[in-house]
Symmetry: C2
């Protein structure tokens, strides 16, 4: 039997939660900013609320009732909505842009840079994220993520889990789904990719959503590889 | 007077001729392949003919008479046309794909990797090439080019020198033209970028077209920076 990874040329990465620890990064930046402005809000709750608006905000774009809109814009709309809900009205446009770009400054999990650097010696590494290009490029500069290509929803003009997000990303690389492996901490993301013929690797991130996380604690599908770090994935792939 | 580069966040690079020496790379690969197949053609002439079909092949896409088509496809059509012209009829589809991907394996000028690596510590480095994403990503893996983002004609769906190629590339990075500098060995490329508000850097590559080169031997416009290597550009920008 041939090994499942013999045909794989590119690894396509979910980013939020899989490569970077969005929650603790966002909470930390919000708390610092709030303290400087003497605004007393439970910023952990605020961060969770911000993220809870993520999927709904993309849905209008996915179902075609809204024209293509990048994630920076959706994040900003959600931020404005939450600031109003929490009674914060005196943040300037400059403040809000700065806070919105917290998502450009997310910190990687401790194993991400080392694991990706090893994997890059064998595979083409590309993002397959719903984040927009500027967000992902700035994050990579900030966090030292060694992508070969920053792809995903924006160049594909489709948000995951729509099939076009996956298929167009593979096509941009000149590859068939069978030559690519989706790497994600989210079972639903892998299920969408696998249905299209992509190989799959689950990287458990059981604290992505904080101490009370209830989903994606473990692999729930028949994925090709299961691990709990990028260095673990490099081990499994012999990189 | 403020230095012209104080506002610059990203450097956008022309690739063919500016970063890589396409002509000697293509001639070398064609000669090796031709020798193995015992086909006696003047491969330097063949390479120049192949490149001479480059601009005409994009023109139908630029003027809208042909739907968006990536450069790999245009290169392949030109290759097939030239092989027929030179009486080569026994190359298989596999042979032709291999030869077409010569453009994915172009060698960098000797100063490119060192210069880009220095520039990357200060600026976001992105391609703004008419090459398609797969071509540029494979080239970067092969040549060690440390791009932060592989952008340009394919994600912009517009070939240079159409304004959309430049403007959409800046927009993908979340930047205004005034925050970007176009880096090219071609005066016409810089003229198109400058007209849109981009900063400009000319990198002389007087042997790009071989010993008989007659164009782009020197800067013919009022560019912000003029040099003859990527390490020279890094020197000028203090990187």
């Amino acid at each position: 039997m041939s090994t499942p990874h013999a045909a794989i040329r590119a690894l396509l990465f979910d980013v939020f939660g899989t490569v970077v620890d969005w929650r603790s990064s966002v909470i930390s930046e919000l708390e610092t900013f709030g303290r400087a402005r003497r605004i007393d809000i439970d910023w952990a709750t605020f961060a969770d609320e911000w993220r809870s608006l993520y999927q709904p905000s993309m849905e209008a774009v996915r179902n075609g009732t809204r024209a293509w809109t990048i994630l920076d814009t959706l994040h900003r709309e959600s931020l404005d909505e939450l600031l109003e809900k929490h009674g914060v009205i005196d943040f300037t446009d400059h403040d809000r842009t700065y806070l919105n770009e917290t998502w450009h400054r997310l910190k990687p999990w401790s194993d991400s840079v080392a694991g990706l650097t090893r994997l890059k010696s064998i595979y083409t590494l590309a993002t397959l994220s719903n984040g927009n290009i500027a967000l992902l490029v700035n994050m990579a500069k900030h966090a030292g993520l060694p992508w070969d290509a920053v792809l995903g929803a924006e160049p594909a003009h489709a948000y995951k889990p729509l099939p076009e997000a996956y298929l167009r990303t593979a096509a941009f690389l000149g590859l068939a789904p069978q030559q690519c492996m989706m790497v994600a901490a989210h079972n639903e993301d892998l299920a969408a990719a696998k249905a299209l013929g992509f190989h799959t690797a689950f990287v458990a991130r059981p604290t992505e959503h904080g101490p009370g996380q209830t989903i994606d604690l473990e692999a729930t599908g028949d994925w090709d590889f299961v691990t709990d770090s990028m260095t673990g994935l490099a081990d499994l792939l012999g990189a």
